[in-house]
């Protein structure tokens, strides 16, 4: 079984790195770690980078997950190949661009581009935000799925993900104690549905709501609170249509052995217990 430890980074293609940089610093509030010729590296926590914009097609979207060591990486490659997934062994140069020791790339059953990485770089300097959004870390992603039941089997049987809760047939899955690291979303094609950063307090969620509104950043859902994870949230739209989320107060699963996923109905109150309705963002099953 492939042992995912944590989500490590997201790589996004963008035709306009300048707009991406403006949004990431002036609105989202990330710190610029490094500007390469065709890459923009952004920090959100103690890691050297957690988001990278690369000059290119916005449909090129990749999620990196950290695994234990190079032996685990080799094992994962054999597991995936045995199941018929084409596995790309990352070159030294590619690994350097990702600031990791080694990695492999493959596609999940929906076709999402996934990378498994070993020893992603940390930074010696603490994270210092470009604006006071209160970001504490990059935490999870919403991942498109053309068949949630099939993809749930992939993430929980081939990999070590566990279902924390379900809304309809949409699983929220964890790879560590945090309620979810991967939230599947029913969609017609592969892609990242949203990128989550944790913030310090619910004050930060509300402050950003007014702040982003004033800057005419489209708020697509929230401020609200998920009854599943307990998190207070705000979803908004960034460059190339990508949705970003701030949230705070995500539950931790205390007892791994006895936790049973709860079933929530597929209805608006399962997504927000405050009464927020998505605007310009489809609910994950529609």
């Amino acid at each position: 079984m492939i042992q995912l430890r944590d989500v490590s980074y997201v790589r996004l293609g963008s035709p306009d790195l300048e707009s991406a940089e403006n949004f990431a610093t002036a609105c989202l509030g990330l710190q610029i770690a490094e500007r390469g010729k065709k890459d923009l590296y952004l920090r959100s926590d103690q890691r050297a980078h957690t988001l990278c914009y690369s000059e290119g097609d916005p449909n090129d979207q990749t999620v990196g997950f950290e695994v234990e060591d190079e032996a685990s990486l080799q094992e994962a490659a054999s597991t995936l190949e045995a199941l018929g997934h084409a596995v790309h062994a990352g070159t030294a140069q590619e690994a350097e661009r990702r600031k990791v020791r080694a990695f492999i790339g493959f596609r999940d059953p929906t076709g999402n581009h996934i990378e498994l990485v070993v020893r992603p770089e940390r930074s010696g300097r603490r994270y210092f935000a470009s604006r006071d959004a209160g970001i504490t870390c990059f935490s999870h992603i919403g991942l498109n799925s053309t068949d949630p039941a099939r993809d749930e089997r992939f993430w929980t049987q081939v990999c070590n993900a566990r279902v924390s809760d379900r809304i309809g047939d949409i699983p929220l899955m964890r790879v560590n104690a945090i309620h979810h690291t991967i939230a599947l979303v029913r969609a017609p094609k592969a892609g990242i549905q949203h990128i989550n950063h944790q913030v310090e307090t619910s004050d930060d969620v509300l402050r950003s709501y007014y702040f982003l509104n004033e800057r005419r950043v489209p708020i697509v859902f929230g401020p609200g609170r998920h009854p599943t994870s307990g998190a207070r949230f705000l979803y908004f739209r960034g460059p190339d249509g990508m949705i970003f989320e701030y949230s705070v107060g995500v539950d931790e699963i205390e007892d791994e052995d006895t936790h049973r996923p709860r079933q929530f109905g597929f209805e608006p109150t399962s997504f927000c217990m405050w009464g927020a309705k998505p605007a310009g963002m489809p609910l994950p099953n529609s």
């Binding site: 004050d203 509300l206 007014y210 702040f211 217990m273 405050w274 009464g275």
Partner: protein, 293 residues
């Protein structure tokens, strides 16, 4: 706060009595929309509960004995002491008649007016209810929390409240947050061109209820005057909503507690960030708005 006494002079803001143009329309707002429990009318006044008190809000049309704010006084000795102090300062103080006490559901009272002309009832033994509070909808209201008052005579009004034992916790411009118990404030005085109640605030359980009520008001097409927001000085989260006659009712939660240690009132500038840390603004209520916005 106790002015050297073993017990405080006043202990709570215990009710608001409001004169409205159409009591039945206002009553629908207060119960169906805002979520207070309507209880039996008395002498043409419609009454509501928000906690274990017998009633905390009443609506009437009689302007002769109209709007007032009830302040609970420790006992009759304290009431006498306050009466003496207020007369010394030149404020009008009148002993309530038996019928005035009955209409206020209290045992004894002094009826006064601060300098702006806001009528303040100083009351002893306001009635409690034996039955628990049972609201018409799940707005999460825990208790009647306090009031914001419009003030046209800032210095004299402050002298009035200080005579009752209230202390200024903090200033935002000349807005004074007045402390009468362990919380940052129960009464706030807002400089204004006129007098009257600015808002009546009701505490809810948590941020969840502030936000749920915010979406409920949007769906019910009720005007939100300001919020969801958070006062910078008191850390109190709020949602101010408007009913008939421009009446503002507020949901609040999370106010800072203040221990008994001597504490200097802090001065905040009168700007948008002092009035709301999150960034909400009031467009139409001048008392809640920073100048130049």
């Amino acid at each position: 706060m106790n002015n050297g006494r073993a017990t405080p002079l006043i202990t709570s803001v215990c009710y608001v009595r409001l004169t409205v143009s159409e009591p039945s329309a206002s009553a629908r707002f207060v119960s169906d929309i805002f979520g207070l429990q309507r209880v039996a009318d008395q002498d043409g006044e419609i009454a509501f509960r928000s906690d274990d008190r017998f009633r905390t809000v009443s609506l009437g049309q009689n302007s002769a004995d109209g709007s007032s704010v009830g302040i609970e006084v420790w006992d009759d000795t304290a009431l006498g002491e306050i009466g003496r102090r207020l007369r010394e300062l030149g404020f009008m103080v009148k002993e309530a008649t038996a019928s005035e006490c009955r209409g206020r559901y209290v045992q004894s009272a002094l009826l006064t007016e601060e300098a702006s002309g806001n009528r303040i009832d100083l009351v002893v033994r306001p009635t409690r209810s034996g039955r628990r509070y049972f609201p018409p909808r799940d707005a999460g209201i825990v208790e009647f929390h306090g009031v914001g008052l419009r003030s046209t005579d800032h210095a004299r009004d402050l002298a009035f409240w200080r005579a009752l034992g209230a202390e200024v916790s903090d200033w935002v411009g000349d807005i004074a947050y007045l402390r009468i118990d362990g919380l940052h404030h129960r009464i706030a005085l807002y400089p204004s061109k006129r007098n009257g109640l600015l808002y009546a605030a009701f505490e809810v359980e948590a941020l969840d209820q502030i936000m749920q009520n915010s979406y409920f008001m949007q769906e019910s097409q009720i005007r939100i005057v300001q919020g969801p927001g958070r006062e910078a000085a008191s850390r109190q989260m709020f949602l101010h909503v408007e009913g008939p006659d421009g009446l503002i009712f507020s949901y609040v939660n999370g106010m800072a507690e203040i221990d008994g240690k001597p504490r200097l009132a802090r001065q905040f500038p009168l700007n948008a960030a002092s009035l709301c840390d999150w960034g909400s603004e009031s467009k139409d209520v001048p008392e809640l708005r920073a100048p130049g916005r």
